[in-house]
């Protein structure tokens, strides 16, 4: 990860970039419609892998005030009496046509970064909760969070070699999910599989009248299983 530094020389000299002064040519009118999808789940479940399988990953980090719980755990910096920590985020971008951009944000996997979730989920279209059947419990907090916020989410079981296979219905029971929450098996390394996951989420949001302004005839979303090809 890059360190924080200014690319401008210390003397304030700014490299010439087209115009000699700051004069911004405001174009302004081109509509830009960003959509945000969160990729959540426990530490090491494959969030970074999923985001990078389908989009160009860009470096994004934040410095956030942290609670005392994290002191001694994180590399902390004291800033004007406030204690902050640097958190790197997975951030991917998919351009769709000329006017829509889909942004994928991986949520930080560790519990101590919970404070960032409200910010990340603000205005989000929905979330993919990634789960690993060997450590299913790791995705409970994400499921709880999105249920409480009524943010539409789907479960994507990242199938690792040698991990136990369960039927989606077993997982539904284990996670105590509503009957209509889609559960898929996926391979986070494969673009086609990740694409299927995102399509399932957007379909689910479209079929969920609370998620969109225009109500649509909603049929109970069936459990779809995008079986990863071995």
């Amino acid at each position: 990860m890059g360190s924080a530094r200014s690319d401008s020389a210390p003397d304030g000299h700014v490299p010439a970039a087209g115009t000699p002064d700051d004069g911004p040519a405001a174009t302004g009118d081109a509509p830009l419609n960003p959509f945000k999808i969160l990729v959540a789940g426990g530490f090491g479940v494959g969030k970074t892998t999923m985001v990078s399988a389908i989009s160009e990953i860009r470096p994004l980090r934040t410095e956030e005030a942290i609670t005392e719980v994290s002191i001694g755990v994180d590399d902390i910096t004291d800033v004007g009496g406030k204690t902050t920590t640097t958190v790197a985020m997975d951030f991917g971008r998919i351009t769709i046509g000329s006017r829509i951009t889909l942004y994928l944000f991986g949520t930080p996997g560790q519990d101590r970064f919970w404070f960032m979730w409200d910010d990340l989920s603000y205005g989000a279209l929905g979330a993919v909760v990634m789960a690993d059947t060997r450590r299913l419990i790791d995705c409970f907090p994400a499921v709880d969070y999105f249920e409480r916020r009524s943010l539409p989410f789907i479960i994507a079981i990242n199938v690792f070699d040698g991990s136990p296979r369960y039927e989606p219905d077993d997982i539904r029971v284990a996670l105590d999910l509503e009957h209509d929450v889609p559960i898929l098996l996926c391979d986070a390394r494969k673009r086609s599989s990740v694409k299927e996951v995102l399509i399932t989420l957007v379909e689910y949001v479209l079929a969920n009248p609370s998620g969109v302004a225009t109500p649509v005839a909603s049929t109970a979303a069936e459990v779809s299983v995008a079986a990863p090809r071995p």
């Binding site: 924080a4 200014s6 004007g80 640097t86 603000y122 957007v202 969109v212 302004a213």
Partner: protein
């Protein structure tokens, strides 16, 4: 010389502490909400001369990048500064009326059905 080089290495950490760029402020000016995918764009107003105190090279870099509508997250990635710092610098530009925030068309629950359908079609044709 060798000792000097060691300190100028990237590994040595930031040359300037990130919040030094904001004059030590850790909260944005004003009450505009700048979330990750808020779209900002240059207003076309020219910065006043002399510039307000605290208006630095990073403000100018951001302003240049705002010629086209761009999201806060993209800007933070472009300038390689922490998101919190970028938010504060952008809030300064908003206060100076140098950039404006584009109204969000696609937030839940007002999300337009047509746009979502476009997202779906776009994903399918990826």
């Amino acid at each position: 010389m060798a000792h000097y080089d060691r300190w100028l290495d990237r590994q040595a950490g930031p040359v300037v502490r990130p919040y030094a760029l904001t004059g030590g402020r850790t909260a944005p000016a004003g009450d505009t909400v700048l979330d990750l995918i808020t779209v900002v764009v240059a207003s076309g107003h020219r910065p006043v001369t002399p510039r307000p105190p605290g208006f630095g090279p990073e403000h100018r870099r951001l302003l240049r990048l705002c010629r086209e509508p761009v999201t806060v997250a993209d800007l933070a990635a472009d300038v390689d500064l922490p998101l919190g710092v970028v938010r504060i610098l952008l809030s300064d530009l908003i206060q100076e009326k140098l950039i404006t925030v584009q109204p969000r068309m696609a937030t839940r629950p007002q999300t337009s059905y047509n746009l979502l359908q476009e997202v779906l079609d776009g994903l399918r044709s990826l």
